[in-house]
Amino acid sequence: MLGYAVRRLGLGVAIVTTAMAILFIMIFLVPGDPASVALGPRATPEMVEALRVRMGLDRPVWEQFWNFYASAVRGDLGTEALSGRPVADVVLEQLPYTLALIVSGISWAVALGIPLGALAAVQRGSLADRIVGVLSVAVIAVPSFVVAIYALLIFAVWLRWLPAIGAGEPGDFADQLTHLLLPSLAVGLGWVGYIARMVRASMLEALQASHIRTARAFGLPERLITYSYALRIAILPTLTLLGIGVGHMLSSAVFAEIVFARPGIGKLVYDAIIVRNYPVVTGAVLVTTVFFVMVNVAADILVGALDPRVRSELGR
């Protein structure tokens, strides 16, 4: 088990390193000099040259990448040109808002998706199964930002049930919760469909397994077999799915933050783009990518711990 975890972690580090190389190449390919762009059109050539040296742009490419990589590993993502604050601080300050949104989205999607999937599997071929099937496909298909805008339109503008913008008064938990409802609806809705489909499929497979047959032969109650024995196995692939899905959820969260004017990574980057604040954008991309890879590694290791069959797969 430890070997599997170490191998999976190593792969994660390799992926992050490659992703950083790709990001570095993209920044490197940008037309124009980052130093003069950062200083604006009114900067003197001397000022630009001084910033070039300070940013290390006068060095060879390999050295630039190494500096980029080494300082990122140390947690140094550069400083924001305008305020002079470390980018890492600026980004990490916003991360909790985005994480809260993602976690709340996943939570309600799991709470609804697993029972729906299990129900569809147990009543395979029934009307309920077909309805769950079609609805799952439908909510997966519709982009989350359209869900966000329509939710805003229906629940905040027309019905006026819920607040439209912001994250709520700090310290006022009820207020923050009501502000979280609509964004969390937009982030989670598609996942109800994904999870229901995944649970249904793996539940159908699990119900065929030999230990389930044995349990039936022993005359255990059907409810115990389905909801305890089969569902326990059927939930495992959902974990992997959620790991892979964190990237999608991050994307949905970015849109939800922009639509509902909530603080978070999405709002931060969106505002940074308008003023062409490069370091904040690349810093945020780096943080979210590392976060995504880490969640995937964690999900895989967790599934490996719960299901020994998975561990051997990485040794392909």
């Binding site: 792969l11 390799a14 992926i15 992050v16 490659t18 992703a19 190389a21 790709i22 990001l23 993209m26 920044i27 390919l29 940008v30 037309p31 079609v134 496909v137 439908a138 997966i140 298909a141 519709v142 982009p143 930002f145 359209v146 805008i149 329509y150 805003l152 339109l153 503008v157 027309w158 994904y194 489909r197 995944m198 499929a201 990237g247 999608h248 991050l250 994307s251 970015v254 849109f255 922009i258 639509v259 999405g266 980057v269 969106y270 940074a272 783009i273 062409r276 490069y278 954008v281 690349t282 945020a284 991309v285 979210t288 990518t289 995504f292 890879v293 995937n296």
Partner: protein, 291 residues
Amino acid sequence: MSSVAEPARPRHAGLAALGRVLAEPMGLFGLALVVLVIVSAVFADQLAAYNPTRMMPRDRFADPGWTHLMGTDHLGRDLFARVLHGGRIALWVALVATSISLALGAVLGLIAGYGPRWLDNLLILIFDAVKSFPTVMLALTLVTLFGPSLTAVMVVVVLVATPSYARVIRTQTMALKTSEFILAARAMGAGMGRILRVHVLPNVIGPVLILASMDIPVVIAIEAGMSFLGLGVRPPTPSWGAILNDGFTNIRETPWIAVAGGLPVILTTLGFTFLGETLRDVFDPRLRREG
């Protein structure tokens, strides 16, 4: 027993498949929506009474009605015309970007699957790394660095889609690599290019085509999403995302603009998804588990 006449088989396998798609309510519904979207985009000029970029200042923020079916926006442009023409952009991006991703994915997948082990490992690492960027963050970065444009949208789509196609092609190529007919072709002196092109590619492309058709809604969502953020198609070009953005800005006063921008996105993604799901079930049920 054998004297019983066999049921007449459709002459063409494609017709049989179409019949099976139409027999499924979901497939029929999806196909109807897709046809509706394609027809309205192709005949946008004939179906809409106005030019999508023509500004009619006296008709600003007109309610939906008989003169303007979906109303007008803040510049007095007819929303119905903009929605129909927006479909052209969406379908164009879907067609071009998906084709490029397919071609690139096929080449890289064949190389990874057939080439030396180290190259395979390197390519897989790059695919995984590219896929580890959250889509929106990738789009935001590219646009920050290179500026908003339709090309930026296509680059994002290609970067997001290519790794998945390449991976599927790679896996299948590896399975074929040691099969007898490939070995025979090699023994007869066929070069690598010829083997990949003539013998491997036709055998591995099928499932990827289905995957690509199922990705169309995703591509349309990326285009609309980026244009919504003002990072995609430049004004005054009509795009569903741009209409949504206009509607979002004025959502309290004139909510119909946001409805007009969102509705085609919803109908199109639903149509292509329902159709894609049915096609996949008909052609290749094995892909179902990758959902």
